[in-house]
């Protein structure tokens, strides 16, 4: 932390205070675009971070390997690679492996970063889905290999993250080489956990990613609950539980986002009491069943997976989030100015209500509307 002042604080203030920045940009026709605008937008919120973490999630970047799981692995020590190679080659068909292209940039102690395009091999039990198998193997690598972390494991998407300002992380990973139809971005100002490469956002499992501004005081209880479902938290940062929670609720349990929002950002009991009996029953049942997945504390997040980008804040909106649309583009941001920088005119721009998700969906997936603001409990 010694260099904090130098990195984030060019004017040498004696106090440096801020919050994280989040930004998401999606083309709802699925047309891929360069990271130029997302990087410009997140860099415009430079003041919100302090250089101890930056990252991006990009969807649609590996069309030539669209059916393979793309593993991004960081090796904090070179000898960790041998162990991981063994684990991966024992449990997967590796169709391609290579070092992720990087360049000299203003980032701190970059690890070796490698990517593998893989398919589960015959070791996958017949009664287990490929996704569940991959999840299990990712947890295994992160727990067993030591000094090696799979920080991205979805198909045709990838996470790029590390210690530095987001614009420097983009430079380091040569992001301009990629094109995606969803970009989510994060600038970090770590509060309760250290700034290290694995602790930067986005957090990921399969194609689910989360970027987060805020802190989860419920991390302990969320983590213990998720362990029962096989999720092992290894990144030493609260946000990790959110990635696994959305994977559990949305992928494995197939719950719709408006219900998931009521689990993560549950309505207050006083609000539930004021609802009609049917909804009262539903929301009480959700709070009782999923009490351990309530995310307590202030947050604004952008969750993404293929086809969808979702913005959500805690129920009393203790962190900022603004949404906008312009033709085929949907935007989510901590600050309006970042959206305006890349899209000076917007068709619509609004502050979502606390606890109510804003969803940008691909048009081609039977959901016709550009953006649906779910207002359950209205």
């Amino acid at each position: 932390m010694k260099n904090l002042g130098k990195m984030g604080n060019i004017y040498d203030d004696d106090k440096d205070f801020s919050g994280c920045s989040i930004f998401g940009m999606m083309n709802v026709e699925g047309k891929r675009f360069s990271p130029r605008d997302p990087v410009k937008a997140i860099a415009n919120m430079h003041e919100r971070g302090n250089g101890l973490g930056g990252g991006f999630a990009a969807y649609g970047i590996y069309p030539e390997h669209a059916e393979d799981y793309a593993f991004h692995v960081m090796y904090l020590r070179r000898d960790a690679k041998e162990k991981v190679d063994k684990l991966l080659k024992g449990n997967f068909e590796v169709t391609l492996e290579e070092e992720i292209p990087t360049r000299e940039a203003n980032v701190q102690n970059p690890p070796l970063v490698w990517r593998y395009f893989v398919q589960p091999n015959k070791r996958k039990p017949a009664n287990q889905t490929a996704d569940d198998y991959v999840t299990e193997q990712v947890m295994r690598v992160n727990m067993e290999a030591g000094n090696a972390f799979v920080f991205s494991s979805g198909k045709n998407m990838g996470v790029f993250k590390g210690v530095g300002f987001p614009e420097d992380i983009a430079d380091f990973f040569c992001l301009e080489e990629y094109e995606a139809y969803i970009w989510t971005c994060h600038g970090r100002f770590p509060t309760n956990s250290q700034g290290w490469w694995g602790g930067a956002h986005p957090f990921n499992i399969l194609d689910w990613t989360v970027v987060h501004n805020g802190e989860l005081s419920s991390y302990g209880i969320n983590r213990r609950y998720l362990e029962m479902y096989g999720y092992k938290c290894t990144m030493q940062t609260d946000t990790e539980v959110l990635a696994y929670a959305v994977d559990l609720l949305m992928r494995r349990q197939q719950l719709p986002i408006d219900i998931v929002a009521k689990i993560l950002a549950a309505p207050l009991w006083s609000e539930i009491d004021a609802l009609p009996p049917k909804e009262q029953h539903l929301f009480s049942a959700l709070r009782q069943t999923y009490g351990s997945l309530l995310m307590n504390g202030p947050f604004s997040i952008i969750v993404a997976h293929h086809g969808e980008m979702i913005g959500l804040t805690d129920r009393i909106k203790l962190r900022p989030l603004i949404a906008g649309t312009r033709e085929d583009f949907a935007y989510l941001s901590s600050e309006e100015s970042a959206m305006r920088l890349v899209s000076p005119t917007l068709d619509r721009v609004w502050y979502p209500r606390g606890g109510e998700p804003v969803v940008g969906k691909l048009r081609s997936r039977e959901h016709v509307e550009l953006l649906k603001v779910v207002e359950a409990g209205k």
Partner: protein, 267 residues
């Protein structure tokens, strides 16, 4: 005419090259400028006697107008960053666009006019001066506004507000008009005035859902005088229809107690 050279000692040339003076209006191109540079520039220009300043290409610079303590009109084009006019003491800021969170934070005197919407905690701890917002505002607007003797801050919202409007309000007056709402619809603002112990919130029609410790009352003659003044000014800034605004029933929200949490403390 003001001497541009006078500023040279205080500012580096790079900043000065972004400034043009036309018809006694100082025009700043703030494209890519750091907020600290922009605010030094404003400080230097206003202390050299500028009466009218325009800032163009604003995009997220924070604290614009902070601690300026003289009468100067600053027109802002673009989207100013958080804490616009924080601790400001006298200027008039006019934003031709939207403002972000914390607009008017602890301002002491002066006026902020927003031709658009603002974000959360607009008017946070405001202790004097006036803010006029044409459209909607975010969460916790007017949180901990306060008043002391002759200093009574005023905040007028043309559209709607979100939850916790006037939270812990300790003084001053707020007027919410709901002009962006469809006929007969209420704001989705809950917990209004939670922890409020002084000051007043005026609503035009039935707009707000009250928090604990507040009550609703009919407006009196003095209240109407203040509402009329604020509404008239609102109309002159935003070209709104005064008759239409006044053709409604106004009510006021006030705290039940001056010390709502006294039972929670032993002293």
């Amino acid at each position: 005419m003001l001497e541009k050279e006078k500023l040279n000692a205080e500012l580096d040339r790079k900043l000065l090259s972004s400034v043009k003076v036309e018809d006694e209006v100082w025009k700043i191109d703030s494209d890519g400028m750091h907020y600290k540079d922009l605010n030094s520039l404003l400080r230097a220009i206003s202390s050299n006697g500028a009466k009218k300043i325009e800032i163009h290409n604003v995009c997220g610079q924070r604290y614009i107008g902070t601690d300026l303590d003289r009468e100067v009109q600053i027109d802002i084009y673009g989207t100013p960053g958080n804490d616009l006019g924080a601790f400001m003491n006298g200027p008039r800021l006019v934003v031709h666009g939207n403002a972000q969170d914390g607009c008017g934070n602890t301002m002491n005197e002066g006026q902020i006019v927003i031709h658009g919407h603002t974000g959360d905690i607009t008017g946070h701890s405001m202790r004097g001066g006036r803010i006029f917002v044409r459209d909607d505002v975010g969460y916790r607007v007017g949180i901990h506004m306060k008043e002391y003797q002759g200093k009574k801050p005023q905040l007028v919202i043309g559209g709607t507000a979100q939850d916790f409007l006037g939270e812990y309000m300790a003084g001053g007056a707020m007027l919410i008009l709901g002009l962006t709402l469809p006929e007969g619809e209420r704001c989705k603002a809950r917990f209004v005035g939670t922890g409020m112990h002084n000051g007043v919130i005026y609503e035009r029609g039935d707009l707000l859902e009250l928090g604990k410790g507040t009550r609703i009352m009919n407006v009196g003659k003095r209240d109407m005088q203040l509402i009329e003044t604020l509404a008239r000014d609102f109309c002159s800034y935003f070209d709104a229809d005064y008759e239409k605004i006044m053709n409604a029933k106004f009510r006021k929200i006030v705290p039940i107690s001056k010390r709502p949490y006294q039972n929670m403390y032993s002293h």
